[in-house]
């Protein structure tokens, strides 16, 4: 089979004979359309001044709508440009003061509190922004679905939350210990250690020995580095970890690695449990709420891509598409999928659903 566009498939000897026969059947003029009757109706429509169909009139409206949209967008953009140019032309010395009057108070970080749909939708509808209202509703529904999923997997999240900080602190402690182990014994000052690991530091530290002359300069320079480099803003560790690191670094590393691997196993188990629960919820709500089922499947696929439940999740998503009435899309995705999994436990059910456009009883 070639993809030579100049040779039609029905005439390509490399195509199968069944395929060519199928295409030849479509090339024959099969329509039994009654031309004279249709022409009479057509002429009657022309004489009566029939209106254009909705889809053709819609195209005209869309063209005019694009112009009205431009009329709405252009003035604010021009105004913003004028204001921006005016601000840019102000003297540099006055800029902070003038900006201080214009710039609003700093925006607080977004909280986890969700906006209630009832508080948003009526106002948006009142302004005639139905598309915006629908968008807000959709976002809120998605958030609600995610929140429900998170609540349903509370245990998994708790384990994950506890494991991550522990692993992070272990990693950070291990990194500090490594740095301290590599440092020369005479470098007992944390400032000196910080300067030696900060490549941007300009103070002179050589072999861990700091000259007595530059003691004051060092403290000033340390402050400067701390002000510039975020890495230098780490809290100074107490002397205890330093001594601990010197005493038994190898044993401590081994223990940390063991605990880290145990935590990783626990996290992996929690992820598996979370994935199974998401799939179970998606299957449970398949009939009553296929949209939610589809959302859960897609979220699961993005979160656990290529996992052992990927195919199972895909068939649930296809069934949800069928239940939503998107049979054509389901068939488009489902036929190659069924070829890959012809004899899975759920293949027969999926095949029936794609054929009939209805979900069979499980």
């Amino acid at each position: 089979m070639t993809d030579n566009h100049d040779t039609p498939m029905w005439d390509d000897p490399q195509e199968s004979s069944a395929l060519r026969q199928l295409l030849r059947a479509g090339r024959v003029e099969n329509s039994d359309y009654d031309v004279e009757r249709g022409l009479a109706r057509h002429l009657a429509q022309l004489h009566s001044g029939a209106q254009l169909p909705a889809w053709a009139a819609q195209t005209t409206l869309q063209k005019s709508a694009s112009w009205s949209l431009l009329a709405w967008l252009v003035p604010p953009v021009i105004s913003a440009g004028v204001v921006g140019a005016w601000l840019a032309l102000q003297p540099a010395a006055q800029a902070p003061a003038s900006l201080g009057n214009l710039v609003p108070a700093p925006v607080k970080a977004p909280t986890t509190q969700l906006i209630e749909p009832a508080a948003v939708t009526p106002a948006s509808d009142a302004l005639g922004r139905t598309s915006e209202a629908k968008e807000v509703k959709r976002v809120l529904e998605d958030r609600e679905a995610v929140r429900e999923t998170v609540e349903a997997n509370e245990h998994a999240n708790v384990v994950t939350r506890t494991a991550r900080p522990a692993a992070r602190s272990n990693a950070g402690r291990r990194a500090r210990a490594t740095r301290l182990d590599d440092a020369p014994p005479s470098a007992t000052s944390y400032a000196a250690v910080a300067q030696s690991r900060d490549s941007s530091g300009s103070t002179s530290v050589s072999g861990g020995v700091t000259s007595a002359k530059s003691a004051n300069e060092e403290s000033v320079a340390t402050k400067a580095v701390a002000a510039v480099s975020p890495a230098a803003q780490e809290p100074a560790p107490s002397p205890a970890p330093v001594e601990e690191a010197k005493a038994k670094p190898a044993e401590r590393r081994a223990k940390e690695e063991e605990s880290a691997s145990a935590k990783e196993d626990e996290v992996s188990g929690a992820r598996l449990e979370r994935e199974m629960r998401m799939l179970a919820v998606a299957q449970r709500v398949l009939t009553e709420d296929p949209a939610r089922s589809l959302r859960l499947c897609r979220q699961g696929e993005s979160e656990f891509r290529g996992s052992m439940f990927s195919a199972e999740r895909k068939q649930v998503a296809l069934l949800a598409l069928v239940q939503l009435g998107k049979v054509e899309q389901a068939r488009r995705e489902g036929i190659p999928f069924l070829r890959a999994y012809p004899n899975a436990p759920w293949s027969a059910r999926l095949r029936v659903a794609l054929s009939t456009g209805k979900l069979p009883n499980p």
Partner: protein
Amino acid sequence: MSEWSHLDSAELFRRYAPFVANFLARMGVARSDVDDLVQEVFLVAHRGGGYAPGPAKPTTYLASIAFRAATTHRRKRQTRSFVKLADDVVSTAGDDRNSPERDADQRRQLALLDRVLDALDNDKRVVFVMAELQGESVVAIAQVLGIPVDTAYSRLRAARKVFRETAEALRLEPNSMFGERLQRVGA
């Protein structure tokens, strides 16, 4: 001056209404709606000033209008189950009272063809139908649809791939409910 330069509205209709009806059927329009959409297509063509001679043939020009009509039509009927759609499309292919010479095998082939075409989305389907079934050049298709030629080639290549896979999948499932349905309708 081409042979189509002086086509008035009635002549355009008389010559190309069967083509438009056939094209709409291949685009998945049900039999009961074909006549209405044919009327809409020729009404839009008439209001738009009719066919003007140019690089596009009258069939390409009318197909571009029919494509818009079929797209809107399919969007409206998305909630229909595909079994009903298959019934309609099969009957579009032929009516024994009007065309007794068409045998069952031809109807089965057309029904299967329409089911395979249903696996394509509208953008790929129109390129495939115009190129493979109507014999239009890809350049003309791109010009009429208002898309780059490379895009038209890309869609045709993708449509051919999906067409092959779907036809093969349907052929491999003769005992499925769909296969039985086709045999019953075609018998």
